[in-house]
Amino acid sequence: MKDMTLSTLLAVFEEIFGRGLFWAMVALAGVVTLAYLFVLIRDRAVSWHKFLWAQLSMPVGAVLAVWFLLVMTHSQLRDMGGPIDLIVLLMVAVGGAVGMAILVYTGQSLLRGRDE
């Protein structure tokens, strides 16, 4: 890599997904994050009941994220060859888990409203 700048990274991600899809996904992630912040601010409290469901969904998100990446890249778990591979795999799993948890928590909050 000659110049690994933010604009290079953005250009690369635009090319991977297509400009429209990439920014749509960024916008979607932003909207979900903002919705999450919105319900936190609105409710002024974390609902432990919803958080339990969010936590339970985390392994599902982790497995889905890893599975998606492996399928999309013709890879298998046996291809892990070094520490960096395991780190990347774990980061993908953690990303999937956290994303799923936020999605589930926010979804419950928006659909069911506040816990009274």
Binding site: K2, T8, A11, E14, L34, L37, D85
Partner: protein, 437 residues
Amino acid sequence: MTKNKYDLSRRAFLGVAAGGAAIASVTPSDAAPIATNAKIVIIGAGAGGTALANRLVDRLDGAQITLIDPRPQHLYQPGLTLVAAGLKPADYVTTLTTDWLPSGVTLIPEKAAAIDPEAKTVSTEGGETLSYDYLVVAPGLVLDHDAIDGFDLDMVGTNGIGALYAGPQYAAKTWDAAGKFTEDGGVGLFTRPETEMKCAGAPLKHTFLIDDLARRADNRGNMDITYAAPQGSLFGVPIVAEKVRMLFGDRGINTAMQHTLKAIEPGQQKATFVDQDGSTVDMDYDYIHVIPPQRAPDVIRESGLSWADKWTDQGWVECDMYTLQHLRYDTIWALGDVAGVPKGKTAASVKWQVPVVEDGIVSAIEGTDPTETYNGYTSCPMITRIGRAMLVEFDYNNDLTPSFPGIIAPLEELWISWLMKEVALKATYNAMLRGRA
């Protein structure tokens, strides 16, 4: 109370949203374009020509930029090894040349027929003559299939013959033949030419991939694989050659070094090599991968731009290995495969060469000294099986130049290196074409 709370939360919400939008809209600011009426001609609208045109359009205001290239398709050549292993369809590598060119440049869809470096003109096959102030020669190279006796491109995909360099449809046909080999077994011969060549890792990648695919088909025990090359080592960079030697040992791949493919007899499935003693060696095959000698296009060799004392059978452009400027004509630069430099016939090299040529031309227009140089950087994501690769990067000195030292080891078979080849490489390449990487 409730109303107040909602007002506050809405304000906070909108504030965060506005902040996010502001971050998203930040773009790097570029220096003001330089006003000029220079006439710049680029022969070739491949990776180098296209990326350079996009960058020059941003740097120069008023320059007359003309590209000359007869091929309507743009080929993403790093993808050909994946097509030839059945991992991607042929159209994975094909787009339109015009998809990538910026507005404000002219594309002449013809072949360059002659260059007169004294009169500073380029003539096209259609009879048009263009004068230039600055010329960039980036026409790529020519695959000399006729140099292999008995071989014809029409044979690719039949009788166990593959030739993935020849283009997307031939890479797909190569998989027809190679895929059959992985099912039927037999003797596989994987060759490389004696000349300089584009992506010297590709012959090795094809060998590794077919070996892996045969293992996945549970058929590797029924085949004998030999890698036959005119050179004395498996890779130009000694430390990488040693690693490949070890991997070949691990995979049970035989080698026939200093063996140059000269002819094939498709009917009898027999290949003829010449060894280091000049003796003829015949080998039978069930699958053979043919990579012919590679040379500069005739227009370069006939225009007196080639080296007179180096690569005389190949005709690469005589240029400074660091600035890529022609050694006898200071208004001409070489870019990409055609450049007569010791390394650098890859897309990754082009990525590093383009800013050097851009800097050379812009500096010449401004009357200043150029500062960018090319150090021979070449990158090869050496696929060693589906799902693993080694991210090998090196320079003119054969020094390894890892982009992520301490994180991605260059001589380890890693999944992340495969991910880069599979996911990020084409995207980075496309960003480069647009002049953005």
